[in-house]
């Protein structure tokens, strides 16, 4: 069934352009039907999965190589799969309306659904290679969607940046998976994860870990790869809401969660996740302070959220894993909502700069209400689900196995910064003074459906969190941290230190808002003074440097001088041939088996050598041509001597024709000139002699190395099967007739070419 669901989505991605052309008006609603059905079908499996029954499907892919395409729906896959299809359907409804003002939307919907299918495949994959294929699909569709407005250079650049960084991560990941295969002899996830001891005792543990971390960190925009995500905001808002906040950037999180049981026993794993996670959490929140573009603010808080998720996985306590899953859901709900709202604001007011809008509640009360609830969730204020998740994160921080102090401090600051960002959006954009002459209208129902549903879910789950625990969290948790158990989620924990922390966070955030101007100025000053590193610029500097290096290298290697290309080839060939003689010893009995050259052959050979030398030294083209013809004749005579009658006939005819043809052509060419100086001639003589000598050795070696001949067959069957007595002819026209046909074709092509070259009239320059 899983495969059917997946294929259904992939087919939909092919049909999406058709559906969109069929009805531009309702394309979003129509398109969301299939993902929604998939969502329902997955949702009805919740009881099964929480009961420990996982549906697994295997299809042999390339059985000779042991490649299997396999899918599995377990607790962890389920939570992600529901997010992907559920939010996906809502986004499609939104995008159907949002994209109406754009061109080429058919393509857009194709990409978007393709992404959805790939992402679903990624979380359902039950073996590493299947996972990897879908992983790359998501990178690819992300590239296409970020660069959707490809007329804009910034969009192209951001798309390229995202592709290169996630592509780099993808390669690292593939290498990591291959190493895992070397350790386990299988790509099957269940087998690998079920036996962490094998990897722990293997020297490949550290390389695998580093490669997997690079893969996950690039995908999930974790420091130092965080910079592509704000750039990706060039994409239309539905894409930002879907790929770059709710789903694709969570692929790295998914992978880390999935592989956590495998590597959590290693300290390196725990430390790198905690360290990079905490740092990213802080950097993202910090960077969001000075942003003015709504989508950039949201992007940096997304970076911060991703860091938080990574840190929580790294902590690997019951609290942390529980918090991570809740936060994953919360963040997907509120961030998708807010991105969609940012798109709405841009659509209705023409800008998404925070200081250019204000007082939107007067014009769009419904949209403002939805956004304010989402912002409450983002700030972690009751009664939204965001509050519960923030409490859990603090709890996890307090219970962190190491460095609890630092995690708590940075977590506190990050939360305060994010609260500040929420406050700015809430108070400056939706409340506050109206700043418009023209009154923006309430967004249409299609643009509000998705956000409204997500916010309502967030609110309901915030009020009644208990349902979540048994149905989704517990089944997922055991895959991240075996043996762990989810806590009963409650909105009200009673008065304790965590509540105090929450309270302090709110106070800090509010204080920051009150001194907004000063805080922003201070942070921008600090950014200018101390954090000057521009990751994105550095990245493109790297690319430019690489391009420069490549063009320099090409200029050296591709110099344009024909004979030096050939010289390189021959010198390299000589070295390679010489290498084949390494360790070669002629057999002892060889000397006896050698035949002495007969007199006739000596004469023919002398003819060949003398005429060749004449060609080499000839001052006249005609002499050169005639003597090279003589060389050919000498070879023909050797053919006769050693039983090659057909060959000799052909050779003599070919040589005659060539001399005739050559004479005609040369007649039209200028006289021979000596271009080369003595030194280059000496050098060429050395190269030619070495190559010739090596070829002589090679020829000799091949004569004295009798292998089993395959010719027996032809000799035996020439008359029996083909009724021909001349075996050579039978081979040509019967046994290998198709080759001869090819040969005739070549001749024909050469004839056409010659005709064209002779008749072609070109415009005089």
């Amino acid at each position: 069934m899983l495969l059917t669901l997946l294929l259904g989505l992939f087919v939909l991605s092919l049909l999406a352009p058709l559906i969109n052309t069929f009805s531009r008006r309702f394309s979003g609603w129509l398109l969301s039907v299939v993902p929604f059905i998939v969502f329902i079908l997955l949702a009805v499996k919740i009881p099964q999965v929480s009961g420990g029954y996982y549906s697994t499907e295997e299809y042999s892919w390339i059985p000779e190589l042991g490649l299997i395409f396999s899918l599995r729906l377990d607790g962890l896959s389920q939570i992600f799969a529901l997010l992907v299809t559920g939010i996906g359907s809502l986004i499609l409804i939104y995008a159907g309306y949002y994209m109406r003002s754009y061109d080429k939307t058919s393509r857009f919907f194709g990409y978007l659904v393709f992404f959805m299918a790939s992402m679903l495949g990624l979380v359902l994959a039950a073996d590493l290679l299947t996972l990897f294929v879908f992983w790359e699909f998501t990178s690819l569709s992300s590239f296409l969607l970020i660069g959707f407005k490809h007329e804009r250079p910034e969009a192209r650049q951001a798309a390229l940046q995202a592709l290169l960084i996630t592509g780099l991560g993808g390669l690292a990941l593939l290498a990591g998976f291959i190493l895992l295969y070397k350790v386990y002899g299988t790509f099957e996830l269940a087998t690998i994860i079920g036996n962490p001891e094998l990897l722990a005792s293997s020297p490949l543990l550290l390389p695998v870990m580093i490669l997997v971390l690079i893969g996950a960190f690039t995908k999930s925009a974790i420091f130092p790869f965080h910079f592509w995500l704000p750039g990706a905001m060039q994409a239309p808002s539905p894409v930002s809401a879907y790929l770059h906040s709710a789903t694709m950037v969570k692929a790295g999180i998914y992978l880390l969660a999935r592989l956590n049981p495998l590597m959590m026993s290693s300290e390196w794993w725990v430390y790198s996740l905690s360290l990079f996670g905490v740092f990213t959490m802080f950097v993202g929140a910090w960077m969001s302070i000075t942003q003015n573009d709504l989508k950039k603010v949201l992007a940096y808080t997304t970076v911060s959220a991703l860091g938080t998720l990574v840190m929580l996985i790294g902590s690997s306590t019951d609290f942390a894993v529980n918090a991570m899953l809740v936060f994953l859901l919360v963040h997907a709900f509120y961030k998708a909502t807010l991105f969609m709202m940012a798109g709405n604001i841009e659509k209705k007011t023409g800008t998404r700069m925070i200081d250019e809008v204000g007082g939107l509640y007067r014009y769009m009360p419904v949209a403002s209400a939805i956004s304010l609830l989402a912002l409450l969730s983002m700030s972690g204020i009751p009664p939204m689900l965001g509050f519960i998740s923030k409490e859990l994160i603090y709890e996890a921080g307090i219970n962190a196995p190491s460095a609890a102090g630092i995690i708590l401090l940075l977590g506190f600051l990050s939360n305060a910064f994010i609260l500040f960002a929420s406050a700015r959006i809430a108070l400056d954009v939706f409340l506050g003074k109206p700043m418009f002459e023209k009154q923006p209208k309430e967004p249409d129902i299609s643009l509000l459906t998705g956000p409204a549903i997500l916010v309502i879910i967030s609110l309901l789950l915030g009020l009644l969190p208990g349902r979540l625990t048994d149905s989704l969290l517990n089944p997922a948790m055991i895959h991240i941290l075996p043996g762990s158990e989810a806590m009963k989620l409650k909105l009200w924990h009673g008065f304790n230190d965590i509540l105090l922390l929450s309270f302090l966070t709110i106070v800090a955030g509010v204080l920051m808002y009150i001194f907004k101007a000063r805080v922003t100025a201070l942070v921008s000053y600090a950014n200018l003074k101390y954090f000057k590193a521009r990751f994105s610029d550095g990245f493109f500097g790297l690319i430019d440097g690489f391009m420069y290096l490549t063009s320099r290298k090409t200029a050296i290697v591709q110099h344009g001088y024909h004979r030096f290309y050939l010289m390189t080839i021959f010198v390299v060939a000589s070295v390679l041939i010489a290498l084949t003689f390494y360790g070669w010893k002629p057999k002892a009995e060889l000397a006896q088996n050698l035949q002495a050259p007969t007199f006739t052959v000596l004469v023919f050979g002398t003819l060949i050598v003398v005429s060749t030398i004449t060609t080499l030294l000839a001052k006249s083209r005609l002499v050169a041509l005639i003597s090279i013809g003589l060389t050919g004749l000498g070879i023909g005579l050797i053919f006769i001597e050693y039983s090659g009658i057909d060959l000799a006939i052909t050779m003599i005819m070919v040589e005659t024709m060539m001399v005739v043809l050559g004479t005609i052509v040369v007649f039209h060419l200028p006289r021979y000139l000596d271009f080369s100086d003595l030194r280059s001639r000496q050098r060429d003589v050395v190269i030619a002699s070495v190559f010739g000598l090596l070829m002589a050795f090679l020829a000799f070696r091949s004569f004295t190395n009798p292998e089993t001949k395959i010719s027996e067959y032809f000799v035996e069957n020439s008359y029996l099967l083909a009724y021909g007595k001349n075996v050579v002819n039978v081979i040509l026209v019967d046994f290998r007739a198709l080759d001869t046909l090819g040969e005739i074709t070549v001749l024909l092509l050469a004839a056409f070419g010659i005709y064209a070259l002779l008749k072609l009239k070109t415009e005089p320059k």
């Binding site: 001088y561 024909h562 004979r563 010289m567 021959f570 050698l594 050259p597 052959v601 060949i608 060749t612 060609t615 050169a624 060389t631 050919g632 070879i635 050797i638 050693y642 090659g644 009658i645 057909d646 060959l647 052909t650 024709m657 060539m658 052509v665 040369v666 021979y672 271009f675 080369s676 060429d684 190269i687 030619a688 002699s689 190559f691 010739g692 000598l693 090596l694 070829m695 002589a696 020829a699 000799f700 004569f703 000799v715 020439s718 008359y719 007595k725 001349n726 075996v727 050579v728 081979i731 040509l732 290998r736 080759d739 040969e743 070549v746 001749l747 092509l749 004839a751 070419g753 072609l760």
Partner: protein, 116 residues
């Protein structure tokens, strides 16, 4: 015998390489001809050196006591011969055309023309 033929093959290869490394385009074509000569001879010689026994059979099939020359290399060389005729003819006309278009038979000049 083997040594002698091998030396001739090597000599032809050397001649072809030397011609390849010249600047004149005519010599380049001569190099191509030498290269195919050398290769044909090499290919032919791998069938062994059997005198006066061309690969013919009579109606009852072959008789193992009367060995014939290996027909396979001969068939290969025959094909190669015809192809090399095609290649040589084509390259001869190509240099003719090259001269008509550029007024030069010097390959180094071609490189400089490209650079400009």
């Amino acid at each position: 015998m083997e040594v002698f033929i091998a030396l001739i093959i090597g000599f032809l290869y050397g001649a072809s390489v030397y011609m390849f490394l010249r600047r004149s385009i005519v010599k380049l074509v001569l190099g191509i001809i030498f290269l195919s000569h050398a290769t044909n001879l090499l290919l032919f010689s791998t069938g062994g050196f059997l005198r006066g026994s061309p690969p013919f059979v009579d109606e009852v099939g072959s008789d193992a006591s009367l060995p014939v020359a290996d027909p396979l290399p001969q068939a290969l060389v025959l094909t190669a011969l015809v192809i090399s005729l095609g290649v040589t003819a084509f390259s001869l006309v190509l240099i003719y055309r090259f001269y008509k278009e550029t007024g030069s038979v010097d390959l180094d000049e071609l490189a400089q023309m490209e650079k400009k």
